[in-house]
Amino acid sequence: MEELSLLANGFGVILTWQNIGLMMIGILLGIIVGVLPGLGGPNGVAILLPLTFGMSPTSAIILLSCIYWGALFGGAITSVLFNIPGEAWSVATTFDGYPMAQNGQAGAALTNAFSGSFIGAITGVLLITFLAPRVAAFALEFGPPEFFAVFFLTFCSFIGLGKEPKAKIMAAMGLGLLLAAVGMDTVSGDLRMTFGSRELMRGFDFLVVVIGLFGISEILITIEEGLAFKGKSAKIDLKVVLKTWAQLPRYFVTMIRSCVVGCWMGITPGGAVAASFMGYGLAKRFSKEPDSFGKGNPEGVLAPETAAHAAGTAALLPMLALGIPGSATAAVLLGGLMIWGLQPGPLLFTEQKDFVWGLIASMYLGNIAGLIIVLSTVPLFAAILKVPFSIIAPMILMVCAVGAYTVLGSVHDIWIMALFGIVGYIFKKLTYPLAPLVLALVLGDRLEDAFRQSMLTSKGSLDIFWSNGLCGSITTIAILLLISPAFGWIRDRIKASKSAESKFA
């Protein structure tokens, strides 16, 4: 149990007044970010990232990861009270959360949601604590071909598991990789895809792109429906909380199921959304009274929230252990690591022990603090949503503009942000997925380096990705994932033709 002593060290690192203060600020900011339209996890972190450049990496990651937890909690508030999912993975929470609020049980629904989130997140953190160091130790042996294979696996699982049309997922991913390649090529010094523009020489900064794609576009989508919000009000008192908690043991099996599904899907990139729906679906299938789902069954709130947060937390595992983020927010955090001068990847666990274990310890504390804060401040945040959109919208746009500018201190970036806002608006409406695009943009350079180095070793032959058992099996799994949708398609075809035959026979 070496992890436990390392974890204890981690707690030693973070238990200073300054870090605890940052944790509280992070969670409060995170809930605001999660509640407000246009500010979700990824771009909330992106906007605040430049403000942390002056801090020590440990304090900075505590602040930013707490914003992440806060945003996860905040998403549930809007789902339950306003029937507006804060993030894609809160969609399943609205199915039973909003009916509960309509029945006057908003407090119980929120308590269920927060408790589920907390349990899911803690399971995810436990998984990180014990599994991540092993994965990292294993990955220390990786060379460029293995890393390329893992990157390839990440992208293939997005394509294989994504619900969007496959061509659109691949197009979004390819665009992200192309955007990452714009500017000066680090190997040859050639200028790529700048078309003579001096502004494009330094390429596209992923933070600016994230703020545009997620922030501006969300505001544009929100404004489509006009300026009014209609929500239910909520009051949570200790009695409701205790009453809800007393009933939690009844749903023990549901929670276990959701935790397992969430952890599994979270490590697989792009899985958090799928995890929440699977959690909901499983709870409904195994329930004794499946008809009560959708009409305000607390289990229908608990199951997807637990799964989504287990997934959201587990998504940080590959980011820490391999340097490969499992979600858009994890991708932004990973970009932060690079800006603070830390090299993401398996070496982090051996070279930056204080940082890694400080972060893991802050995940435990952050979620506990988050649960307490969010339970006690719900009315406050519900009130924020009552501020008219004609005041909130320009303010959020201003914050986005400031965030885009502070990345590199360039007004040109604010234009890039606006441009990607429009792109994001159109992409969202046409179901081009944005998360793979951001992931590709963050990983692009390292993916290309790994590819080039592999190609150099093998003199241009793709055989190198099957040169040893490890690398070969990762590549093969990736390709199987890539073509897995085709199997489903063939199966459906066979079924369809069989049923047609039996009809005529």
């Binding site: 339209p37 246009g38 999912p85 390649a181 200028l191 746009l397 241009g460």
Partner: protein, 172 residues
């Protein structure tokens, strides 16, 4: 946050709008043109195998071709689907442009007026014209928000933001 679930009574009555199919076709077409340009540019700097391994354009050239093919696939499938779904109703588009145009004016003005003055005017104008608030309340909200911003960024975090003539008057 998204507002997919909000019911819009007006939107339902309005009915007509821009069709999803036409936007799909345009976006896929733009993708193909963009990728053609990118592939051409990468081919120009060398997308083959040089003396020291893959040339600078090797990886992006192949990507551009791949994305271009995806664009083609999207174009074809959108063309074949006779989908009558709407991308957005005219009313929705009007609302989007009512925000988008001021946003672009705001971004343009940052270079000249600095971010604080531009933001104050942006908030005030949007509140006045879109929200129907009184001039006084709109201006007060815009100015106070930006005084807070100035305090946080310039004085507390010492992160300099773009400044214009007004700040120069006070010696910043």
């Amino acid at each position: 946050m998204s507002v997919t679930e909000l019911v819009s009574e007006e939107g339902a009555q309005e009915g007509k709008g821009i069709s999803r199919r036409s936007v799909e076709l345009v976006v896929a077409f733009v993708l193909m043109v963009l990728c053609a340009a990118l592939a051409w540019d990468n081919n120009k700097i060398g997308a083959g195998w040089g003396g020291a391994g893959p040339e600078a354009g090797y990886f992006p050239f192949r990507l551009a071709v791949g994305v271009g093919l995806c664009g083609l696939a999207i174009f074809i499938s959108a063309f074949r689907e006779g989908n009558s779904e709407l991308f957005a109703t005219w009313l929705q588009l009007k609302r989007v442009f009512q925000l988008l145009v001021p946003l672009l004016v705001y971004v343009a003005s940052i270079s000249y007026l600095g971010i604080y003055l531009s933001s104050a005017l942006f908030i005030a104008c949007f509140m006045k014209f879109a929200g129907g608030y009184s001039i006084l309340r709109s201006l007060a909200t815009g100015v106070i928000t930006n005084l807070v911003m100035f305090y946080v960024f310039e004085l507390q975090f010492s992160v300099p933001l773009p400044k214009g003539p007004i700040e120069a008057l006070f010696g910043f």
